[in-house]
């Protein structure tokens, strides 16, 4: 599967396209686990399992503060 990450709120915002066996695999390339992000597609929160091939998504890291 190929997914374009259009924005990672709070960090680098350059779009990147990543390829992996699964979405979890793509997340791990971004150094994230499923516990660490919320996924937005077209500005709406979606379930991680609903990310599909060719999607453009935004990752919102859940960790903030100190």
């Amino acid at each position: 599967m190929k997914v374009t990450i259009v924005a990672r709120t709070g960090s680098d915002t350059n779009p990147i396209t990543l390829e992996g066996k699964s979405f979890q695999d793509i997340l791990s390339q971004c150094q994230y686990t499923i516990e660490e992000v919320i996924v937005l597609k077209d500005g709406r929160v979606i379930i991680e399992e609903e990310v599909s091939d060719g999607d453009a998504i935004e990752l919102v890291p859940v960790a903030s503060g100190g």
């Binding site: 709070g10 686990t33 919320i38 929160v45 379930i47 919102v60 859940v62 960790a63 503060g65 100190g66």
Partner: protein
């Protein structure tokens, strides 16, 4: 995926297998908050509660939930904001915190390291990390100022992730005194304002999602010193474990909570007053005064 109410789901709670829509998800978070409040009798009618507010997601969501609870169970609610002096970071979060207080009509009090000790966190040249100084100084100010303002309880936005990280950190450091103090309540000591943690059974991800779906304005900034912390390594370890085994964090908290009454009894020690500042301490000179001496000697 559909929520059991029929609406489109936006969250998969992997611990229970539930798929939840925005409305059912929000209700379930509110229920978890109320369950924790009830289980440990954290909020009573006519209590005087002050919330340690940073402007980040945890304390802001906590303030919203307590404000909602206040409509049903009258108690005094205010916010305390601490400015540690972290350039480019804290001023942004304080702005959000002040805006939240204003929109909810909640009185607030702001205190700073600079006013209290004439130093900013940025000025400290630590041997290991800024976080250890920040944690000690912030807890000191939160306790002292909340008590001086006449509040009876200090509500903090510590979530499930924070709690299990602290449990692991204290265990791995061999700090059994702190290990025995990570529970939902503390034995009364008049010099310590009891800290309540109504979000301790809600994960960081669910708190962030609650803020997003309820369009609660929160600051998403990460403290520039956060990467230094031992906590980051523990956080990564626990998140990796949770991803593979989705009940890891709850199981750890549950196990700890069952041990807590025994730990609390046997691992606490006598509280005395610091000979320099008079604040409660477990040694003749409190940790804050010791650290302040170190900071001055290095400047």
């Amino acid at each position: 995926m559909r929520c059991r109410c029929g609406r489109e789901a936006l969250y998969h709670r992997r611990q229970s297998g539930q798929y939840l829509c925005a409305s059912c998800f929000s209700r379930s978070v509110q229920k978890k908050f109320l369950a924790t409040v009830r289980k440990h009798s954290l909020v009573k009618k006519d209590d005087k509660i002050i919330v340690g507010l940073s402007g980040g997601k945890d304390s802001t969501v906590l303030l919203h939930l307590l404000n909602d609870l206040k409509k049903r169970r009258p108690f005094t609610l205010a916010a305390i904001i601490i400015d540690e002096g972290i350039d480019g970071y804290r001023e942004k979060t304080i702005k959000v915190a002040l805006k939240t207080c204003e929109s909810l009509h909640i009185p607030h009090h702001v205190f700073s390291f600079q006013e209290e000790w004439g130093i900013a966190l940025d000025d400290i040249k630590p041997e290991i990390s800024h976080c250890s100084y920040c944690g000690v100084f912030r807890r000191y100010l939160l306790n002292k100022k909340s008590r001086e303002l006449g509040f009876e309880k200090l509500a903090v936005g510590l979530n499930l992730d924070d709690e299990v990280q602290s449990i692991m950190m204290n265990l791995l450091r061999g700090d059994l005194f702190r290990f025995g103090r990570t529970g939902p309540y503390y034995r009364d000591n008049p010099a310590f304002i009891p800290r309540i943690k109504p979000l301790r059974e809600i994960s960081e991800k669910e708190i962030m999602l609650y803020a997003v779906v309820n369009t609660i304005d929160v600051d998403h900034s990460v403290c520039p010193y956060a990467g230094e912390a031992f906590r980051s390594d523990i956080r990564k370890f626990l998140d990796t474990m949770e991803s593979a085994r989705p009940t890891t964090k709850y199981s750890l908290l549950r196990s700890y909570d069952r041990l807590f009454p025994f730990l609390h009894e046997s691992l606490t020690c006598e509280i005395t007053s610091c000979i320099k500042c008079g604040e409660p301490s477990i040694s003749p000179i409190c940790k804050t005064c010791q650290m302040l001496e170190e900071v001055v000697s290095r400047q």
